[in-house]
């Protein structure tokens, strides 16, 4: 670990000496200058190879790149072509060959080309991808030492950070993040990597309760309003963890104070327009959200009071406060606030919801009935909610009655009510009625699936089989599932031979589906029958 830290320091010192003129093109691309220098025939051949590469036909692309190399070895793009050939090998999962015969060749034959730096970085990355982490680390360090001015040096540093994270080497990790966040000049190619490192560093500092350091990290990426938003975004999770642990609770609370104070400073004070008001409300909500993560009830309530004093008794703010009371199981307080809503309908619906959350059905029903009267235009919706409340407490007959009346009265949403009715009938074990209702639904194949399930529960297996057959014929995506269910249904019918045939058919017709795997395992376990699903990855 110590040696790793030393190496990291060495590589970091290399980077600090490096000039900020970082590289020019993305890993798999060649600069326009180089394209321009190519002859027409070369460009033509390379375009063919690139086309196959983009189409992910890597074996074909490889042979086209090979053709290019044999025809135009002296071309300026030869190093790039060699690099792309190696990337083809990488994608064909021949990474060892890609390293030895591909990337290394780019470095050996075209050491001064811009592709040599990329190849050097890709060696490290490929090593890490195939589990050779120690080799990867070494390759990254070599890349940083050999190409300090290139963007790949930054990528390599980021790769080293990943390794340090994997090896839980916190010291090295923080050093690398700091370097990436603060010391490296950001360009179009490296900006993203540096920004990610800065965000990671900020999260790390928040996790340690070091608010100023975290803020400094975020400042490298964001300014003004954006900065406040990202403080809010990144501080919450570490804050929750710190406060949730007895040993770190004090640190967490201090962090919460610092974060809230920072967010308070950045609150919009100009409330002259609606837009500014909305912006300010969002900022207030973010601040309160941070307070919620600190689990200090008094501070949360105080913040809401201040917000209400600033903006007046707006439904949105009162709703948020009441929701908070609900989350703290203070239902009565929440309801008293909901009832003060200017939008009476919304307020009452929230009251009803809170009764449902409390499992107080009678009161919820009363409120829904009141709502149906107050908001006659949406009476159907409130009746539907009433029925859903009945379903929640398994009072199915009342729910069914309401849904039936809705099917008859609300023609526009009849499908929605039919589905709700059918599901309720199924849950109430009125399977025959449920089948009839599902039949009227139009959401094939889901309704057929439910009907088949009901028929199986009624031991009407033949009817279930017919329905599964229709799913197989009519729905490509559900067909493997339905075929598997055919097998299970035959099993329930004690028709072993047919069940085996159905499972075998599932394996045969849909070998790539996960249901085929289930069928295969079932055949093996239950019947000791082997059926072919076998293959290899290139099939």
């Amino acid at each position: 670990m110590k040696s790793l830290s030393t190496l990291m320091l060495m590589t970091l010192s290399w980077l600090s000496l490096a000039s900020p003129a970082l590289a020019q093109t993305k890993i798999g691309e060649m600069s326009l200058d180089r394209w321009a220098k190519m002859r027409e025939v070369e460009r033509y051949q390379l375009n063919i190879a690139e086309k196959y590469f983009k189409e992910k036909k890597y074996d074909v692309a490889m042979s086209e790149y090979e053709k290019y190399l044999s025809l135009y070895e002296q071309s300026d793009a030869a190093s790039f072509v060699q690099l792309k050939w190696s990337l083809c090998l990488n994608n064909l999962r021949k990474q060892n060959t890609a390293i030895k015969e591909g990337f290394q060749s780019v470095i050996d034959y075209w050491p001064d080309s811009p592709d040599a730096a990329k190849a050097s970085y890709l060696i490290g990355k490929t090593f890490v991808d195939i589990g050779r982490v120690s080799y990867g680390k070494k390759a990254y360090q070599e890349t940083i030492a050999d190409f300090p001015d290139d963007a790949v040096a930054v990528y390599s540093l980021s790769g080293l950070a990943e390794i340090a994270k994997q090896e839980k080497d916190e010291t090295s990790l923080v050093k690398i993040w700091k370097r990436l966040a603060f010391d490296i000049e950001r360009t179009k190619l490296t900006g993203g990597t540096c920004a990610t490192a800065a965000n990671s560093l900020a999260s790390y500092y928040f996790g340690k309760g070091a608010f100023p350091d975290a803020l400094d990290s975020l400042k490298t990426n964001y300014k003004d309003e954006q900065l406040a938003y990202y403080v809010y975004a990144y501080v919450r999770s570490p804050l929750g963890t710190l406060v949730g642990n007895e040993d770190t609770a004090t640190v967490g609370l201090r962090l919460a104070d610092q974060a809230v104070s920072f967010l308070k400073q950045n609150l919009e004070t100009d409330l002259s327009t609606d837009e500014l008001k909305a912006k300010a409300q969002t900022q207030w909500n973010q601040m309160i959200e941070v307070e919620k993560y600190s689990r200090r009830d008094d501070k949360v309530l105080a913040a809401y009071r201040s917000m209400l004093a600033t903006f007046g008794n707006l439904d949105a703010i009162m709703g948020s406060l009441a929701d908070y009371h609900v989350s703290q199981k203070r239902f009565d307080q929440a309801r008293s606030i909901y009832r003060q809503f200017k939008d009476k309908v919304l307020g009452l619906s929230k009251v009803a919801q809170s009764y449902r959350a409390e499992a107080n059905l009678n009161e919820a029903i009363k409120v829904y009935k009141q709502l149906a009267g107050v908001d006659a235009e949406n009476a159907a919706t409130w009746q539907g909610e009433e029925a859903a409340a009945y379903v929640e407490v398994k009072q199915y007959p009342q729910a069914i009655q309401i849904y039936r009346s809705l099917v008859a009265s609300d023609a526009l949403n009849s499908q929605k009510w039919l589905w709700a009715l059918a599901t309720t009938q199924r849950d109430a074990n009125l399977l025959k009625e449920a089948i009839g209702t599902y039949r009227q639904c139009e959401n094939f194949p889901e309704n057929y699936r439910q009907m088949a399930g009901c028929h199986r529960a009624l031991k009407e297996y033949k009817e279930a089989l017919v329905l599964y057959g229709q799913i197989i014929g009519g729905s490509e995506s559900m067909a493997p599932w339905a075929q598997l269910q055919v097998g299970y249904t035959f099993e329930q019918m004690q028709s072993t031979e047919m069940a085996i045939k159905a499972f075998q058919l599932c394996c045969k017709k849909y070998p790539k589906a996960s249901y085929a795997s289930t069928a295969h395992a079932h055949l093996q376990n239950k019947y000791k029958i082997s059926v072919t699903l076998g293959g290899a990855t290139d099939e």
């Binding site: 999962r93 195939i130 050779r132 790539k512 395992a521 082997s530």
Partner: protein, 494 residues
Amino acid sequence: MNLLKSLCKQKAFQVGAVMALVWLFALADWLWIHMLPDSVLHLVFGSITGLVCWFVYKQSKSRNEGAIIFWSLFSFGIPVWWHAGVYFCEWLGLEVFRAYFARGGLAVFFVTGLIWVVWAVEQHAQKIEALRRQAFNLENVLTRKKQKRSVDHKIWNPLDPDAWYYGQKSPRLNQSLNGFVSYTVLFCLICMILSQFQGCTQYYDLPAGGGENQAVQQVVKVQKIIRKKFILNPYSAINYNTPELDDVKLELNEVTAHRYTKMGFGEGDGAGFAGGTSDGTVGFVRLEYPGGDWNQDFGIGGDMNMLLKYAELTGQKVAKKTKAYSAAQLKTFDGVRCPPLLYITGQRNISLGNNDIKILQEYINDKHGMIFGDNGGSRHFHNQFISMMQRILPDVRPVRIPTDDPIHTRPYQIARVPYVAPHGGEEALGWFADGRWVAYYHPGDIGDAWADGHAGVSQDIWANCYRLGVNIMSYAHIEHAKWRLAQKQSGGDE
């Protein structure tokens, strides 16, 4: 004492004692000492089992007169039948039955002991109460009116239901519970001690010999013959048109170089491993873990096929049968001479305790072992295996093993990972640490392809599955042989 002396003088008892001693010695030899040849063990276990059966049968005729003697004899017979069952199942390669015998026998043994404990406690309690009834004096009771139980002195004897700690309310029930709990705890304790005692070191020796870790050469020369096509071009001379792919006639000449290569590692006669022994064999060892079906395709007709194929394809000496060890048993292996490869399969849960995980960590890190996981039939097992590996090697991330990795190219070239069913995907995963693959995970039930019937897959697939099996076994053994040699040179355990 007198009863014991009189028993000792009885001829039947003397014969029984001798038989018990011989049986115990044979048992110890089979489990730990490994001194007696198999034929002697067959004879001892077979004859003693037969004799016990005969004694029990004979006694059963006079069962009504001597019930205790009959049941005692029957009870002594239980461990004999249990161990004989395990022994002969193992000898016949009936590994699944061996496991049933081992577990079932232990359960029956436990219940038998419990019955005897209950009976003995009851007998003794009745005896004490009978004595107390004899000493009962009505006069005393009348004069003292009511005599409080155990007032004068506290009774500590656990066999006495009047012992003070059984309380006033239902003392007999408390006594029975005490007997049951004490017996169970003692039984578990003895089992734990014995399982630790299994720590008598086991050895896994590699077969002596040598060889190279080279790819079996198979060269396919492709000869392209492009048919010339002449077309008339109205604007120029006759032109050679670029042929369509269909017009390219391929002539495939397969030239396979059958060069004899000794497979193994190091210098030595015959295929094998430098530093191996003449008695050493390549084995196939699987982990017997709690929670799931570890024994999928185990033994003859299952993984034994793979072992035989390994012998055929490599020419190395292999064990007579495949083996299964629990984590505790795995721990008993020598620090160096331990199995290089541990196969884990199934389709349900892998329930390993922290101690088992430590043993597997030690197996990989200190004993240079390698784990070969095989998904026997579910996505659930895939998750179970990955999370098990996460516990064993928390700092190592699984990666997709390249197709040009030595494990996929030597001795056989495996272009693509063959599978029976893609239960855990289609890619083989590997855990790479300390310069080698420490774990290989096959997602698609390779064990099923090795088994009789080959799970119905085509010959290409199952033949490739065998080759992949050979590659993995060979890789693990070569890596282990290298490490053993290095240990030897650095004055290690050997």
